[in-house]
Symmetry: C2
Subunit: 496 residues, 2 copies
Amino acid sequence: MSENSETLATRPRRLEQIERWDIDTDVAIVGFGGAGACAAIEASDAGAVVCIFESASASGGSTALSSAEIYMGGSGGTRVQNACGYRDTTEAMFDFLMAAQGELADEARIRAYCEGSLGHFDWLVSLGAKYKDSEYRQRAIMATTDDCLLYTGNEKAWPFRELAAPCPRGHNLQVEGDHGGPMLMGVLTANVERRPIRVEYDARALTLIADADGAVHGLVARIDGQERNVRARRGVILCAGGFAMNRAMLATHAPRLLASGNIPIGNPGDTGAGIRMGQGVGAALLHMSEGFITLPFYPPASLTYGIFVNAQAQRFINEDVYHARLAHHALRQLGRAIFLIVSHDDYQRPAFLNAPVAGTGETIEELAAEIGLDPAMLRHTVDYYNAHAARGEDPLFHKSPEWLKPLAPPYAALDCTPGHGALYPYFTLGGLDTLPTGEVLTLDKRPIPGLYAAGRTACGVPRTAAGYASGMSVGDATFFGRVAGRSAARRGRGPG
Amino acid sequence: MSENSETLATRPRRLEQIERWDIDTDVAIVGFGGAGACAAIEASDAGAVVCIFESASASGGSTALSSAEIYMGGSGGTRVQNACGYRDTTEAMFDFLMAAQGELADEARIRAYCEGSLGHFDWLVSLGAKYKDSEYRQRAIMATTDDCLLYTGNEKAWPFRELAAPCPRGHNLQVEGDHGGPMLMGVLTANVERRPIRVEYDARALTLIADADGAVHGLVARIDGQERNVRARRGVILCAGGFAMNRAMLATHAPRLLASGNIPIGNPGDTGAGIRMGQGVGAALLHMSEGFITLPFYPPASLTYGIFVNAQAQRFINEDVYHARLAHHALRQLGRAIFLIVSHDDYQRPAFLNAPVAGTGETIEELAAEIGLDPAMLRHTVDYYNAHAARGEDPLFHKSPEWLKPLAPPYAALDCTPGHGALYPYFTLGGLDTLPTGEVLTLDKRPIPGLYAAGRTACGVPRTAAGYASGMSVGDATFFGRVAGRSAARRGRGPG
């Protein structure tokens, strides 16, 4: 482990021990990814002097590595939703997000997100983000054309379609291929650069500076090999990402994620440093065991016609769910084996899955023998599924009729058992406990004066793979990054 | 919420602000349950001046409310194991506990527990704990006779029986009925009282006293309405229980536990106060979402002949598992419905379960209709189970042959769906991160000088309902309470 991942001292530097200030600013932001950029823009636009400290040599963070889809809607619908014929309501969006997050839902945060989402779309457009008034109609992990609007979660899948009126809310930038991340960060970086915002690259935030009462007054950053004391008169905003790249933190807090996931998603700076700086001044951590973990079994969408079975040759979910929800439930099955069984006619090589073909068969019995499942159970599972699928029904898991079709020989089985080769990408969803304002909270829910967090340094809207949708994390990071920027900028200046 | 549960300030009192010491001791112990009592005895026997602060008016804690079975074995076996014809090995015990805790296992802690377990038995006996050289052979939640040795976990259940040689390790005190808790705390309290240990009852520990470097020097307790500054020259040991009684903490950290559990287990003092005092001086929290949660479907053991099915009328586990493992997996099923289906001949009213009889039937189809399950699926599940059970086989979940018997009409179904009346008792397993020595750790795994924790204030050996066994929590609390007592007593005195 590098010193900044496992062993960074989280204890703050004491204010009374600071002998000089090397940099003086109103708002200091740690991290120049999506959250940090949005926080900087808003804080600057609110009149604050802003300085960003980014450990890498350029802006980007994990947002630049993502597709940068953003989950937006409500309030009648975004311009794109309307152009594509959808009228979205805030309540439908709220109901969906609440159901998706289940017991872990943060109602106040979700409410704020839904009520402000249309404004967030307009703000991004005002900065120069381009969204085409078009829909990407395929079931996919991301849009690979420059089309914009797509379903990115479980909106149309049981049980969510019964809990909230489905509406597509994933907004893909107007760019061909999976290049939304660089495009979004390009737009945000240009906006930072045209404002009087100071950016220190190759500047590693080491620790916070706090007074005896725990209030945060700045941070210590290492720049050009020198420790620099940064005074942040209004606040420090931690936007330093999650901890997907810190195996020691994963082993401590999210061992189940580490045991099944094999591809951490993010940039090398996702070491949890921001989380641990917050913890050093008494911040509470929230849902540290939770993560996004997925089994990217589509595209091609035709694999959705297949069925997933567990070690007992039983189905366990409606296969038209979002890929991370599928992974979440696959990893909860007793016995590790997970297979995707598909008709030859629907089989195409998965784009990302990398699961070995464990067996093929002209009959279910032949297939079962090859993959080591009980043939009678698999026969029953397939017969039962087929009989109902032929009528457009799935009485067990309510897969949508559009994805119901009897399996037909020859069959193939993809081995999705963890450890057998299939990709299980993951990143962390736990982080600092914050108010929807971005204020970081102690365990007894008191805001820590002068400290804010956004992006995956905070525990945000998305808190479980079971209810994740693409665009939730970048959506949360950019939306609540903005809020944190405004909150910090107006601190000590009274309401406004 | 009372002030000591939700809103207690976790921030420590600053050492330099302490103007006088009201009580001066070597070791201060917060909580006089099983962990605190054992810590006090060992610290005193190691030559330390010891003072216990207990918020209630008597000793006991949650240990006194438990059955006080203790999970012990290894090293050839305890006196009782040997008398009953068992030779237990440390490796078998270690392998079992490692498998039981899975990804969450703390290897060093489990190793220490297994290697010291025989000595722990002998120590308890030396204090006066009485264990009869006899075995309680029924499958039960606790022994209700004065017999001692019983299987209290998943040792004989798949997959654990394939991973470690099964051996009974639950040790029940020699007392009729479920009265082990008061008996154990009686023995421990008598041992405290015959030593020069000061006990302050009705003494609520409010916060720790720490210096600027974070080292702990004592605590502030409220006694007779007055705040008293307690100097603890060698250390403070937090043995203040878990947070099962603090709904705000549960909602924050363990929302899934709170959503399904309906009976918190513990004493009113289990408010997480010790955890939050530790957190105030920078202690890391570990696995806060984890808990013991159970569905006490036996006794009578005959219900183990039944099968559990989920909303899809599919079995999901071998029913001969420990009751908490069953609950753990029941709560992971998609769709909330959970039923226990049993032959009339095997049905007796469950002792604790309280689940309503959702339906009865002369046929499976009749039963399915009454309970709202798909009749064809339930028919297949029962037919498949019966055909194999008749041969002593369970190819899907490997229930032991001793519990395999075809279901026969008339049938009954008990509704174990969460929220429908069945008991789901629970308590918390997350807590402060500690070394096996009891030293409390920061997030970057540095011990906090002068701070120790044991019992459910710490995250101990048991970390998941999936692998729990009765006797693990009191075993962990008493064993690591002792270790913490010794660690604190010798602090600052060099090795020894």
